[in-house]
């Protein structure tokens, strides 16, 4: 019996069927692409995949299940995930010289460029959240934890690294306009975003913790120029245009977010979704109450009253809603939608409101009913003030699919997300020019955006406030506003014991007319404060315990 023993033991050598060796990753094109797919999925973009709800920490919108404390300590636990990602990137960058998974040298150069750009970009997202972080650029072998400790680098060094690495990648990446992966153009676009952030930090923030957070003001000019130059190269040589294919400006701005064809030349970098194999839940989360599916949710992205007033009228830059007569009596509207007549077309393309027609029928939103001359409680089919309906009287419709698979459910939406679009680059360029005191050049691009939107051009000189308001509206709810408030250091002015207001329609059943009140939402949930410590996030739980050399950000 023992004779059969030695020959048998081999059958214990089982091979896992779901594991690819590193050799295969480096030598097989499909395996390498699979690893790249994983790496791309790890880039901490704020899009449908990860953090679309960023802007409800700002004055732009709230969540119907809002809790006033949700803006506390925003860092979104990105530290550990990012460094796991960085280890994978460092590993690939180190091993690229030995990689053979490419048919051409150009493909290999492009791949290395993408890897380097990813690494630079993830360091940018870390620097945005935390300030300076340890720059880890090599794969360490496992060792005693104490031998692996590394302190935080200065923020200015991290940004220098980001700039250098991005440049190196931009210079080697392809000029093919593949909107789904990094190339020379999307590299330039993201670089303008990163450099704009660095420039604003240098200009408006202060250096603290011996430079671990904050950039010396002396470097501001360099970064404004760097942002300007990146945007300028792209504007001059890149294949992009503002989307302007519909004469109906409302339809045009709305379609911009749905046109997934190459005719949409505003797309620079796109995170693509495919129903049903890769979907997101945006429609489910924003759905008006009466249109929800059995899975519930809805009403999670509610533009605020103040945000709605930010939208200009086509003929009037003051966007205040006309709810009262000069004698302070309320204006009666037979059709509630008439309240918004004349607003910026981007408003109609981004927000649905009482009386707006959505999916074939008008939204019925009211919070009180006057019957027999007496005002009492009552709620329309789409709210207000019931669980999972809008808290503010408004629902978000930017990206809300006008023809989604109905009823919508979690994971049933597949509208792509433009992670960066041409419009942002133009605004980045305009901001850099304004900061560099070149107002006439900035004005050209701001007006390009306004004209495309269907608004009259601004006569000069354009102020910084004009610019910021335009940026606020153009890029609303896309997650940019959150970072703008942070880099301009205006968050604590905008959100400081700040009440949130709803448009409170009251339906006069007797007369079948509506009046509208501006109503404060309950302060225990909707009155928020952004304290200055929140400009930089608290280091993710456990990271300091695991590395005593790390210093916590101020105020935590």
């Amino acid at each position: 019996m023992l004779l059969v023993w030695p020959g048998c033991t081999k059958f214990l050598d089982k091979t896992p069927v779901d594991v690819i060796t590193e050799t295969a990753i480096l030598s097989d094109q499909a395996a390498f692409t699979a690893h790249m797919a994983y790496l791309y999925s790890q880039i901490p973009f704020e899009n449908f995949s990860r953090w679309i709800w960023l802007d409800y920490y700002t004055d732009q919108m709230v969540n119907c299940t809002q809790d006033a404390n949700t803006s506390e300590e925003y860092s979104f636990d990105s530290w550990k995930l990012s460094y796991t990602f960085i280890r994978a990137l460092n590993n690939m960058i180190e091993k690229m010289p030995t990689a053979t998974a490419f048919t051409t040298e150009a493909a290999k150069t492009q791949a290395l460029g993408e890897l380097k750009f990813m690494r630079a970009y993830v360091y940018f997202t870390l620097a945005q959240r935390y300030g300076g972080v340890p720059l880890v650029t090599e794969v360490s072998p496992i060792a005693k934890p104490a031998e692996l400790y590394q302190a935080r680098d200065k923020a200015s060094d991290v940004y220098k690294f980001i700039e250098t690495e991005m440049d190196e990648a931009i210079n080697t990446m392809s000029t093919d306009n593949n909107v789904y992966r990094f190339n020379k153009w999307s590299g330039l676009a993201f670089k303008s975003r990163a450099m704009l952030h660095a420039a604003a930090i240098a200009t408006y923030d202060q250096v603290q913790l011996d430079g671990i957070i904050g950039i010396p003001q002396t470097e501001a000019k360099h970064y404004w120029e760097s942002a300007r130059d990146a945007a300028e190269t792209l504007i001059q040589s890149g294949p992009y245009e503002l989307y302007d294919l519909n004469t109906d400006k409302v339809k045009n701005y709305h379609s911009l977010f749905f046109d997934e064809t190459s005719a949409n030349k505003e797309r620079i970098f796109v995170d693509a979704f495919l129903y049903p194999i890769k979907g997101h839940a945006f429609d489910q989360r924003t759905e008006p109450f009466s249109k929800r599916s059995g899975e519930g949710y809805g009403g999670r992205f509610d533009p605020t009253f103040d945000m709605v007033e930010q939208y200009e009228y086509v003929d009037n830059r003051n966007g205040a809603l006309k709810i009262q007569n000069p004698d302070n009596t309320y204006i009666q509207y037979a059709n509630p939608a008439d309240l918004f007549t004349g607003k910026d077309p981007r408003f109609f393309a981004s927000v649905i409101f009482p009386g707006a027609v959505w999916l074939g029928s008008p939204l019925v939103i009211y919070g009180n009913v006057i019957q027999g001359g007496v005002e009492g409680g009552g709620t329309g089919a789409d709210g207000l003030a019931q669980p999972e309906s809008s808290a503010t009287g408004f629902y978000l419709t930017k990206w809300a699919d006008p023809a989604p698979p109905r009823p919508v459910m979690g994971g049933s939406s597949d509208v792509d997300f433009m992670t960066i679009r041409y419009s942002e680059v133009l605004l980045n360029y305009a901001e850099a020019q304004l900061e560099l005191l070149n107002e006439p050049e900035a004005r050209i691009y701001i007006n390009m955006i306004r004209v495309r939107a269907g608004l009259p051009e601004l006569a000069g000189p354009v102020t910084m406030d004009d610019y910021r308001k335009e940026r606020n509206i153009e890029l609303a709810y896309e997650g940019r506003h959150y970072w703008d408030l942070k880099r301009w250091r205006t968050f604590d002015a905008v959100i400081y014991n700040t009440d949130t207001y709803a448009l409170w329609p009251v339906w006069n059943k007797d007369l079948n007319v509506y009046i509208f009140r501006k109503q404060k939402l309950p302060s225990d949930k909707y009155t928020r404060t952004f304290t200055s410590k929140l400009y930089y996030g608290k280091l993710e739980g456990g990271v300091i315990a695991a590395n005593p050399l790390l210093i916590e950000n101020p105020g935590y």
């Binding site: 019996m1 896992p16 280890r87 934890p145 692996l148 599916s293």
Partner: protein
């Protein structure tokens, strides 16, 4: 000479059989092991002709009653030639020569061996064996006489199993085997939710007919011969996954004799045991809602609550529970078996069916099972026996797609009675209420679709034994098992609507649910193979002074699985076939599952000196595919010793009332590879990568590179542990077996401990996050379990009356020796969090010192929560200021009780028989654990909807809605909206109640009709019976619900788990 043709071989025939033998053995070996076994041809001799047949006749009687004994096994020693006595105790057999010895054996009697010595008639009287000294027990890879056991082994026969009619075999074992714990966590048809373990150790290894196998709970009890559990080092011969003990199930074989047909059929019903109910009328509900609003200082939301009588359609009052749930559910079970055989071939064939219906009135939840089994043994030539066992089952579980039972319970409990059934009270427009689904739609498969789970399992075992000639007692055995199992799931989600009514337009506004219609089919296949090749040796020397048994065995197991899913959407919801679906958005997926493989060399040596001093040594040299080549192999020895003190002359001569007294000691080490899956020693990239977690949500690790096609990701597996290896379990056991006064008192006592070392966990020391990877799992943790079992029995037989009582109690507790944790930063946290050297079942919480009786008491109490006393009312829970700092906070937490795993488990098994009547009763209970109320069990009005009826018994005002009237005390605090009031819900003995219970687990009364009557219908035996399961429960005061229902004990299930069932059955058992 026709009868003897099997033993008379022509040369050619001899040659053919030799060839066959060799071929079979070689085939078996080459299939089961890598090489053919060259040396086995020496089996060629040993087929000896002997034409000198002698016909032997005789009668077997009971030595004390002088009555004839039917069914006695009569066998020529050392052969398989034998016969069985008929109804009059007579037998006839052919002896090959006049000098053979003949053995007479019968369960419950002492075996006798008689030399034929030329006689042709043998009349034998057998002595009854009350002490069951000759009882044989199935142990690892063999059988052993109970008296010679040196390990902790408990066993039971088939009669005990069939005394319970239940879908789940483990229900037939409850309370009968000391050390085996069976907890009925829930009784959902087809889910087999019982928690079963040995000595509280976790999932045990189940070996069916010599092969580790799944799904033992589905076996029909009538197909089982015996069940043994190995609780100590005696389990270590099974190694690999046996650290939690082993259950050995042996299925029935046929017996030589006239063929028998047995029909068993029963019908009955199930009824849920103590299960919480929700309020069924609107007025009670709305009083609570109004009261909650008043408590919060708000106006009453339903001042007109009294109108909700259900008479006026605008003021509905709906008993949702009554509309959806049935109180009794039918169940029926039947089986038929054929058995019999000749001296050379025996067979047992059985098929059975079980049907159960679930609690929904729609009957959309139901379960069907078919069992089959065939066991054929053939004596091919002298000394060569072959056995083929084919067993299996086909089962189908149907569940409505709308909700799982968990979701249904959650919903029906909170469904407001003031919501109508139909929009505008018009059928079939089911009202779209606050809940995800209308409870009436969620239980209706016709409306919402179904989930159908089918399993097809085939378990085959083929074995051959060959008695090697010239070496007495040496036998070679080959076994090959091939188990095949298919899991086929059809998940049919059917789109349907619920409605709201628009009074203005007069239209029914639909809400689409389950849309679009979709069919998902899953097909999974598992294949397990097991091969064993063993040499057995058994002999006695010097006239029984020395008995020796040896085993050397090669054991190889291999498992593989594969599966795929296909999914399509439908525009027409009526054809639930994949081919009728839309090709748009169709999806498929498949996953190959590599299971593990094991290879082992097992050895065992038993030695007995005069049946007085007994010793057993065993080892297992184990290899597992879950470990890298360097750390794959382990050598795990075990030893056990027994001393039959009763055989010593100082007992035998002086204390004759001691029939048997034995001291046993065992100690062994076992390697276990549980939890080591996933190729943790192999670095590389997982493809396709699953999801990753960011901010509490899962995101896919894939990417769309061209806008059209999805590329799956390949993610690094992280750091590998190249040294990952076995954890070891060292088990020690000391036991005493005693039988006094020839069985009037029978006692077994065992004390045990099991120490596990090298349990896999992740190092507590953490690598800096910036390193970008974390430590892999390593063999770091260790724990220790200790306990005892006591079993006491008493039985007595009179001429036509007999009874026996056996009680057992077991106690087990586990504590950490090392639990890898980061060191605490201060002494308080060290005490609070570090659980080294601590019992694993500690539940931390706040001391409960009663409910506040008055506002004055509140005002003078320690500060109870962050709000001070502001929100407290009389009736609210008062906590103990454990650290006496004047306020209640986390620092007041201390170990208040144990978690939901019982430490003490006991059973009492009673049987009585008088003539044809027989009664069997099993009482069973457990204690030293707690039951914790969570979610809806912990507060009224969840999500502002309905409440369980228990919360009506609450502190309230005399007029509940007039707070100026005096307080009336109740069990629970006053009503608050939405799950009650946080400070009332802290973990404390108020919600985590210590449990003790005793339950009349099963009772069976049966009557075997007298032979005279039975003969009239030409039958052999007719037995009619009635039995019941989970009949009566006595539980400690304060235990809220069924004490076994684990749904109410864990926060994960919040009591929503399917209820525990009692069952009542009537049946008959007819043998021809």
């Amino acid at each position: 000479m026709k009868k003897n043709c099997f033993s008379i071989f022509s040369p050619w025939r001899k040659y053919k059989i030799l060839l066959y033998l060799n071929l079979t053995v070689i085939l078996l070996l080459s299939q089961t092991f890598c090489l053919s076994a060259a040396g086995l041809a020496e089996g060629k001799s040993g087929l000896i002709d002997n034409p000198q047949q002698i016909t032997v006749r005789g009668t077997v009687t009971d030595a004390s009653t002088k009555e004839a004994l039917p069914g006695v096994n009569v066998i020529i020693s050392g052969t398989t030639i034998g016969a069985i006595t008929d109804a009059s105790g007579n037998f006839t057999l052919e002896a090959p020569n006049a000098s053979v010895k003949i053995q007479f054996s019968f369960i419950g009697y002492i075996m006798q061996e008689v030399a034929l010595a030329g006689k042709t008639t043998l009349n034998v009287a057998l002595e009854s064996d009350v002490a069951q000294l000759s009882e044989v027990v199935v142990v690892g890879y063999g059988v052993q006489k109970k008296v010679n056991l040196t390990g902790a082994v408990s066993s039971m026969g088939s009669a005990k199993l069939t005394a319970v009619t239940s879908p789940d075999l483990s229900n037939s074992m409850v309370g009968k085997l000391p050390g085996l714990r069976v907890i009925t966590a829930g009784s959902e048809p087809g889910l087999y939710d019982n928690r079963i373990d040995i000595r509280g150790w976790g999932t045990m290894l189940v070996v069916i007919d010599g092969v580790p196998r799944d799904d033992f709970q589905r076996i029909d009890p009538s197909q089982i011969e015996s069940v043994s559990i190995l609780k100590d080092a005696s389990a270590s011969v099974y190694g690999v996954k046996a650290a939690n003990g082993v259950m050995l199930i042996t299925t029935k074989k046929g017996e030589a004799g006239k063929g028998e047909i047995t029909v068993n059929s029963s019908f009955g019903f199930q009824k849920m045991t103590d299960f919480p109910r929700a309020i069924t009328n609107s007025i009670d509900n709305l009083i609570l809602k109004n009261e909650a609003a008043l408590v919060a200082g708000n106006p009453m939301p339903f001042p007109d609550y009294k109108l909700y009588t259900g008479q006026d359609p605008n003021y509905p009052s709906v008993d949702w529970w009554g509309l959806t749930v049935q109180e009794t559910m039918p169940m029926n079970k039947s089986d038929i078996s054929f058995s019999g055989g000749t001296e050379r071939v025996t067979y047992f064939v059985s098929v059975g069916n079980l049907h159960e219906t679930g609690i929904y009135k729609t009957n959309s939840l139901n379960y069907d099972r078919y069992n089959f089994r065939s066991n054929v043994t053939a004596n091919i030539v002298k000394g060569l026996n072959a056995n083929v066992i084919i067993g299996g089952f086909l089962d189908t579980r149907n569940d409505p797609f709308g909700s799982s039972s968990f979701e249904f319970m959650k919903q029906v409990w909170m469904q407001p009675p003031y919501e109508p059934i139909y929009a505008n009270n018009t059928a079939p427009y089911y009202y779209d209420g606050q809940a995800d689904r209308n409870p009436l739609t969620s239980i209706n498969s016709d409306l919402t679709g179904y989930r159908r789970y089918r399993t097809k399992s085939l378990q085959t075992t083929m074995s051959m034994t060959y008695d090697i000639p010239f070496v007495k007692g040496l036998q070679v055995k080959g076994l090959f098992a091939y188990d095949l199992k298919y899991g086929i799931q059809s998940l049919f989600r059917k789109a349907y609507n619920e409605y709201k009514y628009n009074t203005t337009s007069g239209l029914y506004i639909p809400t689409g649910l389950n849309s679009p219609t979709r069919l998902q089919k899953y097909f999974d296949e598992w294949i397990y193979t097991q091969s064993q090749l063993s040499l057995n040796y058994k002999n006695t020397f010097s006239e029984g002074t020395h008995s020796v048994e040896g085993l050397l065995l090669l054991d190889r197991r291999d498992g593989n699985g594969d599966g795929f899913m296909a999914q399509r959407y439908y525009s027409i919801a009526t054809i639930e076939q994949l081919n009728a679906g839309l090709t748009d958005n169709q999806a498929t997926s498949g996953v190959m599952k590599v299971l593990d493989a094991n290879l082992a060399l097992v050895g065992r040596l038993n030695y007995g000196f005069k049946s007085k001093y007994l010793a057993e040594f065993s080892f297992r040299y184990d290899g597992s595919s879950l470990f890298p080549a360097d750390s794959r192999w382990g050598f795990f020895p075990a030893v056990s010793l027994g001393w039959r003190i009763s055989e010593e002359s100082f007992i035998k001569d002086n204390l004759s009332f001691i029939s048997n007294l034995k001291l046993r000691v065992s100690h062994g080490v076992m390697g276990d590879d549980s939890g080591a899956g996933g190729f943790q020693f192999i670095p590389g990239y997982t493809y396709p990568a699953g999801t990753f977690k960011a901010n509490g949500s899962n995101f896919p690790s894939n990417y769309v590179f061209d806008g059209k096609t999805l590329t799956s990701g390949a993610v690094s597996k992280g750091l590998a542990n190249p040294n990952i290896t076995w954890y070891t379990a060292t088990t020690s056991n000391v036991g005493i077996d005693a039988t006094l006064w020839k069985g009037l008192l029978d006692l077994t006592f065992d004390v045990f401990q099991r120490k596990r070392e090298g349990l896999l966990t992740t190092r507590a020391e953490t690598l800096p996050s910036e390193f970008g990877a974390s430590f892999p799992k390593e063999n770091l943790n260790s724990d220790l379990s200790r306990g005892f079992e006591l079993s006491v029995g008493h039985s007595k037989m009179f001429s036509d009356f007999s009874y026996s009582v056996r009680t057992n109690i077991s106690y087990a507790q586990t504590r950490w020796i090392h639990n890898e944790q980061a060191p605490a930063t201060n002494t308080y946290l060290n005490w609070r969090t570090i659980n080294e050297d601590r019992n694993v079942n500690i539940l931390w919480g706040y001391g409960y010192v009663g409910q506040f009786q008055t506002q004055e008491e509140i005002n003078t109490a320690p500060v109870q929560n962050a709000n001070g006393h502001a929100a407290l009312f009389p009736g609210d829970i008062k906590y103990q200021d454990w650290n006496e700092d004047g306020m209640i906070n986390e620092l007041d937490m201390y170990p208040i009780t144990r978690n939901e795993d019982p430490e003490i488990y006991y059973g009492l098994d009673m049987t009585g028989g008088w003539k044809g009547l027989s009664l069997n009763m099993v009482l069973q209970g457990a204690t030293n654990y707690s039951q914790t109320a969570t979610e809806q069990l912990q507060g009224p009005l969840p999500w502002g909807r309905n409440s369980l009826t228990i919360f009506l018994d609450r502190w309230h005002h005399q007029d509940p809605l007039d707070f100026s009237t005096p307080w009336i005390p109740g069990k629970y605090p006053i009503t608050r909206d939405g799950f009650g009031f946080g400070p009332n819900k802290l973990t404390s003995p108020f919600w985590s109640v210590d449990v003790a219970y005793l339950r009349l687990k099963s009772i069976e009364l049966s009557y075997t009709l007298p032979q005279s009557l039975v003969k009239m219908i030409k039958a052999k035996q007719l037995r009619i019976y009635t039995n019941a399961y989970n009949v009566v429960t006595w539980k400690k005061k304060g235990v809220m619900f069924d004490p076994e229902h684990r749904g109410s004990g864990t926060s994960a299930e919040n009591g929503y788990k399917y209820p525990v069932m009692a069952s009542y059955n009537f049946g008959l058992n007819l043998t021809f």
